[in-house]
């Protein structure tokens, strides 16, 4: 098993956290994992992306040229990374912000209005958890429990925050 996941969007949408949570959850489940952020000058202009790899074997490089999965939180990143997705890959698109989803007939495309759902939930910042939820629903790559643990380790002492985010997660899984 090996899954290469790219999460991408604006800075501030929490795409880095998506990657970290998935990686941490994978680690907690005894898998090999790597997490690799975009960094430096790339970050200017407000875009951000990260790559997470979860595997049962050693991971030769944390960089993915052709990811299995793309969690796209906005339009430009949907375009940029969508074209690089592996043949038959999975694209989860935040349809609140992405009008025209990248067109590739080989892809499985899931649209979820993560931003609106999050706004409805009363917590703008949890759109990223909704995206994770949608992903977990489609591929149970890690368990919900591991995600919870990961969340609490990465944001220690934020139990209350978890409660909202758990809701968001479940919303995504619906």
């Amino acid at each position: 098993m090996r899954e290469e996941i790219v999460a991408a969007g604006f800075g501030g949408q929490g795409v880095m956290l998506i990657g970290k949570i998935l990686a941490y959850a994978g680690m907690l489940e005894g898998k090999q994992v790597t997490y690799f952020p975009s960094y430096g000058a790339e970050v200017r202009g407000g875009t951000a992306n990260s790559t997470t790899i979860i595997s049962t074997a050693e991971i030769p490089t944390p960089v993915s040229r052709h990811p299995d999965v793309l969690l796209a939180m906005n339009s430009p990143s949907c375009k940029k990374f969508g074209s690089r997705l592996k043949k038959g890959g999975l694209l989860i698109a935040n349809s609140s912000l992405i009008e025209n989803v990248f067109k590739r007939s080989d892809l499985t495309i899931i649209k979820i209005p993560a931003t609106s759902l999050a706004n409805n939930l009363g917590n703008k910042r949890s759109a990223n958890m909704i995206m994770i939820g949608a992903y977990l629903k489609y591929k149970a790559i890690v368990s919900l429990k591991s995600v919870e643990k990961a969340f609490l380790i990465l944001l220690p002492g934020k139990k209350d925050l978890w409660d909202i985010n758990k809701k968001a997660l479940r919303l995504g899984m619906e």
């Binding site: 970290k20 994992v33 050693e58 030769p60």
Partner: protein, 354 residues
């Protein structure tokens, strides 16, 4: 991360922070640095951690100042460290030559990026020559450690401080943007810093004559003698401190050679080749200086081929050629400027040579 609690379990930190935590655990309480991508997380980590452990963190006005602050702190006995990336390391060459000449311990981290010049911040292995042959002036050598995963970042950083103290010599951690930025699980093992007596340290001349630390030797032939004694030390290091990981070199027809980030990919390619019935092995130098010369020299089989994979335009390959002694059997695969090899491509090249 508190060392006790973290001892057993693995954590996920970015490589730059792993280096920082290892340094803290190894007793480093003096860090001097100047920001540069892709190592900024290390500087930021030390800023935070030194406050916590009561150490000294100082963002210097420049890389020149940083390396010389390290010189000063080390002269007074501290385990001192600095870090930078390629252009900043170029600026430190004069200081490194002084530290080597004065025989002071120091740990220097280079998280390499694309060059030459400003280049870019993509991962790269373009500073092998600078690190291993000596970018500064004079016949000095520094120990160069090349980790290829987060755990090695941790373990080798700790080792770096011990080696620096043991040999009174600068030690460089040669990493790259991938290793510095990537998070992967790492066990923050308990580190027991080696206690090395430092009778040469400057403390103020209490009940004794003054001491001097310098790289100038006034007497006729003084510098010649000093160089001879440095060479003697280097021979000792060569004899004792070579570190290298090998896999199936006796059985292989093709031996892939790589260090750092590219070694990970190369290993995977070798496994892939094996699975396809190709007799392949690999050599992963962990110390780039001292270079694991004997591994190559002892290999008498005149048919074996070597594939050197580097994220540069061919640097370590020169050492491999030198040690293999037959350039026609040594092949190179690499590019500079942010290029990262792919397992499949390395595999293809192994296959072609087999």
């Amino acid at each position: 991360m508190k060392s006790k609690a973290a001892k057993e379990r693995k954590v996920l930190m970015c490589g730059n922070e792993v280096i920082g935590e290892a340094a803290v655990q190894a007793g480093c309480r003096h860090y001097f640095g100047y920001p540069i991508t892709p190592q900024n997380e290390l500087t930021a980590y030390m800023a935070k951690r030194m406050e916590e452990v009561g150490g000294v963190f100082l963002q210097s006005e420049s890389e020149l100042a940083a390396i010389n602050m390290v010189l000063g702190a080390s002269a007074c006995g501290a385990r001192a460290m600095t870090s930078s990336s390629s252009p900043g390391i170029s600026l430190k060459q004069e200081g490194i030559s002084y530290i080597a000449g004065m025989e002071l311990p120091a740990v220097i981290v280079n998280v390499m990026r694309g060059g030459p010049g400003l280049g870019n911040i993509s991962p790269s292995q373009s500073d092998y020559f600078q690190a291993v042959k000596g970018g500064g002036h004079g016949d000095y050598r520094i120990i160069v450690l090349a980790p290829s995963c987060s755990q090695e970042l941790y373990d080798l950083t700790a080792l770096a401080f011990d080696l620096a103290d043991t040999y009174r010599n600068p030690v460089m951690i040669l990493a790259d943007g991938i290793l510095g930025q990537m998070m992967e699980p790492v066990a923050l093992r308990q580190i027991n810093p080696k206690h090395v007596k430092k009778p040469w340290v400057l403390t103020g001349a209490k009940n004794r004559p003054g001491r001097r630390l310098c790289s100038l030797f006034l007497e006729t032939g003084g510098l010649e003698k000093h160089n001879a004694s440095l060479q003697e030390k280097y021979r000792r290091i060569k004899a004792k401190e070579v570190r290298c990981e090998t896999y199936n070199i006796s059985g292989a027809e093709v031996i892939a050679v790589a260090y750092g980030s590219s070694a990970r990919l190369t290993k995977a390619a070798v496994k892939m080749a094996e699975e396809r019935g190709i007799k392949a092995g690999y050599i992963k130098p962990i110390t780039l200086w001292p270079f694991p010369e004997d591994v190559f020299i002892k290999e008498k089989d005149k048919n074996k081929k070597y594939l050197v994979v580097e994220m540069n335009e061919g640097q370590m390959v020169e050492d491999v050629e030198r040690c293999v002694g037959d350039r026609k059997r040594v092949f190179f695969y690499g590019h500079a400027g942010g290029w990262i090899p792919q397992t499949e491509d390395i595999f293809k090249r192994i296959k072609k040579l087999a």
